[in-house]
Symmetry: D2
Subunit: 364 residues, 4 copies
């Protein structure tokens, strides 16, 4: 399978280019009988949509989902679900002068070489962050499937922007407030600081990175396959499809690597007749398999590569060093737009594994 | 494909259990015509072998590779290459009393539930770290294939043990010294400190984690597929098959998430007519595709779960809290044994992508 | 991968339903740099189009292809190529009364049970022969790819309708005349008899089956993989995706099973310095691998299941035996519409294998 | 996945060469908890074993199965099941003089070209019919799995040898007698004629082909996936992995292509409250999905390519026409050895689909 698809029993295939006619998704393998409302999907797309505040890009992306197959009388049929967003606000000319000047941090250079200059370079083409909207369309359905069948809930939020970190640990109440501010950080005070930091970077024509944290609850014991099909393997594979992601860790992650085994091991105990662990340094995954504790992961996003500052680069045609000023409207920080994307990829991965493990039936 | 296989054109399938008859590998899709010498494989297996010093487990694992198909007259034939290590030093009785007491940090609990107690629990069974030897057998061949066809070199080394970190940056000369000490850290002074730290932990019946760094040079521009087939996606999927791995980052990774775009962007320049970047915060991967710079990644290992200290746990039969003292011979720190495993998984992934990108032909 | 996709390096994913908004195809893995003209695709769609003569259905299917991704400035980009046909002539009411009465020979019954009645049953929904248009969209590109890169030519034609069989063997000149008559039989006299036979069946409200023959020339030696990846395995898998196909044979096929080895073996000889075989009972495939001779296969189509005659059946709701008269406009014989579909599936399979064998590069 | 593997959730990977150290199988994805006895597997291997009568080859193949992973305390564990047959009776010298002379009908020529002469040519190497034993090892387990979980029974038998055909239709009583004669034809009188025919061919140094029929009962409604995942697609893909197979048909097959729709349609009726069809021209498959009727298929085997008669051929080294007399012990007719192989491939395919359809759980 070429890289545009992911999953085994629940397969998402992404298509389209940033400045082409459309971007879209086929979600194949979704059980028949799931109630589908465009609004479920649109809501998650809207959470990802830019242009709602100064801290994100000022491009207008309508991002209206249109379902063109696989849903009949409000339910999935078991056939491939095709969803499309028609592109509208394309300013391709902005990118025309970039055709030969390599934008630092972007895929321009390797993509040109890989595809021998046949690739659609406009706005990053196939490599644009815009394509994450295709993940969200499929992910919204996967998320609903998990909720309806197993009660699984996936939530992601911003926990670091540049050097500003949220110190508080997330709790149930805070989860409900994620989308109440523009940076998607459930701690209001930290959110405010992050916002200021982003606006400062924006003013300087610079950009910021950050960290998204994700927590998934009600995961049954036993999802994940041995060795290469570990939950960590498949979750990380999915997450690294997001442009800008450069790191991932589960549970105590890199910090845990500094602890003693006696500190990092999660001890088992019994709570209301159920086996749980007292701590969750494993992030809910042992030997690649879910142990019933919440699945927790942290994702590092590099600062957005598109900045307005003048940068030194190379013109691939002349093979000379030159200067570049990237025009256009950019996100000074993509992190606040990422939570629905992360939710989607986590949900798609877990739903695929739940199908493989027989926890979700192929027909509801 | 169940989780025991990885790859698309170069597929490794792992089989066997820690205390069964054998563990083994099928490497399928290796081009015909590659010269194969058992010694190439045995050398990498020996680097992984425990029992060579006090800092690793005192189990004796012969780990002699036997090739049983796919090689004819010293060359690969294009048919599946099957390699086996016959198990010998099995002390299954050590594990018999653990049948119902859940070892903290291990896969015992989720594996029992997932397989409804049919799994081979002896020594972790299918989930044992011992299975990484199957990756090494296939990886040794992939590594040679990359070297012979494209000049690609993959090297991994220990850069952190517990809280002891190597501060120096790796260079060509240091790479040659990786295996000159038991901890596989190319900086002698740090290596000495790490060793002391491990012996201290051993004495306390405790364990340590750490970080492995990997660097791959001579990678051509253009490996990697769009979106879900990004190099980061496939490398991380492979790496998370190693038990104990809980985090991965490419290039500047989590640290990069705190930088400004103007700091983290790698600027292009020309060196001897070749386009390179002045820095390598991207870890050689942009938009999921190799850009010709070295591929660099860092991997977080949790401290080994098997410790000799008394731990509180649950007996799954009685569903009561109980105490547990894990017997047997354990690695106080698995990190020093990991470099050949990481090399193997990186090489397998890159070789698979090189085949897909047409950089290596299906027949040499 | 769910059943809606086929291929490994060149993957076609089909979507849509007979009476939904649209049917469509994603062709993923097509090398970048192939010149694409809508007309190439439209021409093959038109060959498949019904409504051009009395011998096929009188439904009007515009079947205009729209490319919505993967083509930029007239060339493939290496990204997924998405093609859509918007449905228009939907008379779903014709099918409403069939909701519970099982049409003999159709997928209605197993589909209802499989999808627990959530499937879109209108006009056969996902199982309609109409979906073969999605194969043709992708197949037209695969066929061009094979022609441009390797000179491979695939041609299929009608060789039997009901009991009327073409006795002549095909030759180069005849291949050019395939589309000169409505039944797509390159022997005019036989074609005329077939046409009469179809019109007779039509008048009786009955239907006919037949046989399509396919011949592919200029195939290089060495396509096909061992064992389960044999050309016969993958060609038959693709061909059986056509509704109504119930048999396939390569070379001398079922007739060959009655011969002696000394009769059926194709003896090697030299022709203009090239190794060929004197006969081609193998159909160009030995041990699953192409031997350079033309690939020949014959495909059995059952008579169309939709007939206008009254048939006895069961009402799945009442679980009672009842009568059924299938309304609507049907093909009395689908065979004449099948040649472009067979061409497409043969071309898709061979192109996929040519990519895997390194005979076509991932970028042109 | 290279061609040595088949299946999605139940994956068989075949390895080994005819004259190498061993041949073997990994069956991955088999549910945990299935009782396994070596004898179940050995019994099917013995049915396939040559050397039991004059009508098959006089080579002695011990064909003793050894299970080396995936079974613990008599039950499957959910881990990959590895099975090996160690080769013993290798007379490689017989084949040495064939190194350059192409054996008509064999894979020698395309294999040499495909693998650039690196392939193991001894006895057909990877392309030998001997490799079907690897299918039987996995198939024996799949067959048991189907029987134990769903009551499905697969039986195959010889229905044609050369021009001798069995005219009777199979019935339950006859199924029990399949293995009571050497040709595996459940009609004794026909069996006798077939045997005579084979001995006649043997005496002449010639070979015969034939037809195997397969019938599978108790298949639940709803196995099979839409379009490319049709049961016919996946069954034919599996069956064409058998060397010598050149044709397959389901239900009325090629004969059905000559009938009217009104003759070939299977009318629904009710029998003891269950929906069945009065006839079974569909072979139990409609729209690619099982309809609950027995799955019936017929498979054409070409006459064995190895004959003792002198044949004209080409020496690939000299590129000259030459004569060839194939030495060694050959099967004058491989058809009688094929029933357990066909049973195995049918069972593997159906078990895979039963897992995908949720009819068999991943853990018993």
């Amino acid at each position: 399978m070429p890289g545009n698809s992911i999953g085994q029993r629940l397969v998402l295939t992404s298509f389209g280019e940033s400045h082409g006619k459309a971007i879209g998704t086929i979600l194949d393998g979704c059980p028949a009988g799931l109630e589908i409302d465009d609004k479920d999907i649109q809501k998650m797309l809207d959470y990802r949509k830019p242009g709602t505040s100064l801290i994100t890009t000022q491009r207008k992306e309508g991002d209206k989902v249109e379902i063109i197959s696989g849903v009949f009388r409000g339910h999935t049929t078991g056939a491939p679900i095709t969803m499309v967003i028609w592109n509208s606000d394309q300013k391709s000319r902005d990118y025309e002068n970039l055709k030969t000047k390599l934008r630092p941090g972007h895929s321009d250079y390797p993509a040109m070489i890989k595809y021998n200059h046949f690739n659609d370079y406009r706005g990053g083409g196939r490599f644009s962050g815009r394509l994450t909207a295709t993940h969200v369309m499929g992910g919204a359905i996967a998320r609903k499937l998990l909720k309806v069948t197993l009660g699984i809930e996936t939530n992601s939020f911003t926990t670091q922007v540049g050097k500003i970190e949220m110190k508080k640990e997330i709790n149930k109440k805070m989860i409900k407030t994620i989308y109440q501010n523009d940076v998607r950080c459930p701690d209001d005070k930290t959110a405010e600081k992050m916002k200021i930091e982003i606006l400062k970077a924006r003013k300087k024509g610079d950009s910021l990175g950050g960290v998204i944290e994700s927590i998934t609850t009600n995961v049954p014991v036993g999802l994940g396959e041995p060795i290469f099909g570990s939950l960590e393997s498949d979750l990380s594979k999915a997450i690294f499809s997001i442009p800008s992601v450069k790191g991932i860790e589960f549970g105590s992650g890199f910090e845990g690597s500094k602890l003693f085994g006696s500190e990092n091991n999660d001890l088992y105990t019994i709570n209301k007749g159920k086996i749980i662990t007292k701590t969750n340094n494993s992030g809910g995954i042992l030997g690649g398999i879910s142990n019933g504790m919440p699945i927790t992961l942290r994702i590092a996003f590099k600062p957005a590569s598109s900045i307005s500052q003048k940068q030194s680069t190379v013109d691939i045609k002349t093979k000379k060093v030159t200067n570049l000023e990237v025009q256009g409207r950019h996100d000074p920080c993509v992190v606040p737009r990422a939570p629905p994307v992360v939710d989607s990829l986590v949900a798609l991965t877990l739903a695929d594994h739940a199908l493989m493990a027989g926890k979700i039936k192929p027909v509801l």
